[in-house]
Symmetry: C2
């Protein structure tokens, strides 16, 4: 076999594809967005639309099936704000997919509608695969547009352009583009002792442990962000950093960047303001926690979470 710079010793060729929200297959046609494209998509027969009331996706349900796809005429009762419609992209068959905020509050929805936030859609398996990915894209964009009704520079009204992918101030012409917040999430590994570092935030469910994480800040590299956050939260110093997987995280619009970090110290100094607990775990204990069989009752985030992926792939790593 000839050498390839793309070969890897990781358990999967692309761990990102195994995370929740990652399976969006829409053709975004990012270079060809314009006003005409949105109007044309809205008027194309067969177009389906995702409807959002604030942070929540509206699902139609008839008692058995949950369906997030609305035809345009089906949205009348929900008072859609068409000026804020988002053109997500095109299905492989050419069918456009859009998202639109509706002005009816979640509490006022009729009983044959069910509103659900992104976390519930994933955790309760209300949606899966491609459509869950499309909902994530829609949720992020609807939220960003909603958070930018007014111009940050002059306070005047901003208007949506090119299908929700640009906003322009009607007064000063200040122009902004959708926001995605890079977050580093990392599993520190002590290779000599064969241990990984997990922590508990104050808001976690009892017994749940996960990877440490934090926002990448302006003016730092990904590797420096991983080392800084780990040091700040746990007191553990890291050496080399290895990127492993990424995940779109629509709460509200993050990009999770999952890495392994080489532990260069072992004594934990907990940041009690951030964490409830932080400890080293063996491979066996981590596996039991992932599989919900740990004698301690401790658990991890569920399958689909990038933290789960980082832990699982470390456990499965060929050595």
């Amino acid at each position: 076999m000839t050498y390839s710079m793309f070969s890897s010793d990781a358990p999967h060729p692309e761990a990102s594809s195994l995370t929740a929200f990652s399976a969006n297959q829409l053709d975004r046609q990012a270079e060809h967005r314009d006003e005409e494209a949105v109007e044309k998509a809205l008027n194309t027969e067969g177009t389906h639309i995702l409807a959002f009331t604030e942070e929540r996706l509206v699902l139609k349900h008839d008692g058995q099936v949950l369906d997030p796809l609305f035809a345009r005429y089906e949205l009348k009762d929900l008072d859609p704000d068409w000026d804020e419609a988002v053109l997500l992209g095109y299905r492989p068959n050419g069918e456009p997919r859009l998202a639109v905020p509706v002005r009816i509050a979640a509490d006022d929805l009729a009983s044959h509608y069910k509103p659900a936030d992104m976390r519930s859609l994933w955790r309760e398996l209300l949606l899966e695969g491609e459509i869950l990915g499309e909902a994530a894209q829609g949720a992020a964009l609807v939220r960003w547009n909603r958070d930018n009704r007014f111009c940050g520079r002059c306070g005047a009204k901003m208007e949506s352009r090119i299908g929700g992918y640009k906003r322009v101030c009607a007064a000063c012409e200040h122009t902004i583009f959708p926001r995605t917040d890079p977050v580093v999430i990392m599993l520190a590994i002590d290779e000599e002792r064969d241990l990984c570092l997990l922590g508990r935030s104050h808001h976690f469910a009892p017994g749940m442990y996960s990877c440490l994480a934090g926002f990448v800040e302006p003016g730092e590299t990904m590797e420096n962000a991983v080392r800084r956050e780990t040091l700040e939260e746990s007191g553990i110093r890291l050496g080399r950093i290895r990127y492993h997987a990424s995940q779109p995280w629509p709460m509200p619009h993050s990009l999770m960047i999952g890495c392994y970090g080489e532990a260069k110290s072992s004594e934990i100094h907990l940041d009690a303001a951030e964490l409830d607990d932080c400890r080293w775990f063996s491979r066996e204990e981590t596996l039991a926690m992932l599989e919900r069989t740990a004698a301690s009752g401790n658990t991890t985030p569920p399958l689909g979470a990038i933290a789960h992926r980082l832990m699982r792939d470390w456990v499965d790593w060929k050595r």
Copy 2:
């Protein structure tokens, strides 16, 4: 030698550290920012401050030396806006480092000041190493604060908090945090033909070729963003993706994520709206372009640019 998941076949243990703007060593104390910290830092003897007029850093110069570090009293002539001061972090000796926007326009500065944008600071070697990294952090945060004077949700005034790392609306309490835009920048490699794919934007200097690049969009993984942007701009399909390096890019506040992509097709279909030209280059030609010795006169971005790093490390890759 025992196996380590952190060993790599790349030419450098951490290519990110070889990019411009990456050498910031400030201790950000990100978990401990509060109003007292800013006030205390401003009143600490020996504190130095970076001053920005719009996008540009103000340098003191006496005809020979350029100095970006102001003591507080030295800023009086420049009309600093202390309400918008940013606490960047602490030097290894404990000395706080701040950034502040000044209200004097670049054109109105006295002749012993020189304003310079981030690109000039780097390209003209006006600053290097740690201080260039500190300037990048300051530029990104000053710009973000300036772009968010007013609340995107209600249009009322926003106020800076915890040293420029948070803004809160005085009317509706909507709270926002600094923005960092993830951008994928990638070198597509045809391993069989031993070629890499480079393009020219319309705005490039004559003869300059670089990596393709584009913003990561809400709802996609890093790998999918790399494949999408490459396909959209060049028509080339990519398979496996390998992360290589990242770089803070303060124009105004991006995180460049540098990757290699495994080319799965060879026929280029140029997006003429985006690119002036796009071609396959041999290793020898790429090396000559990097070293400014190409017979064609073609060149690459200079040392310090992540695109330069991706090209150079591919040329130097052990096979």
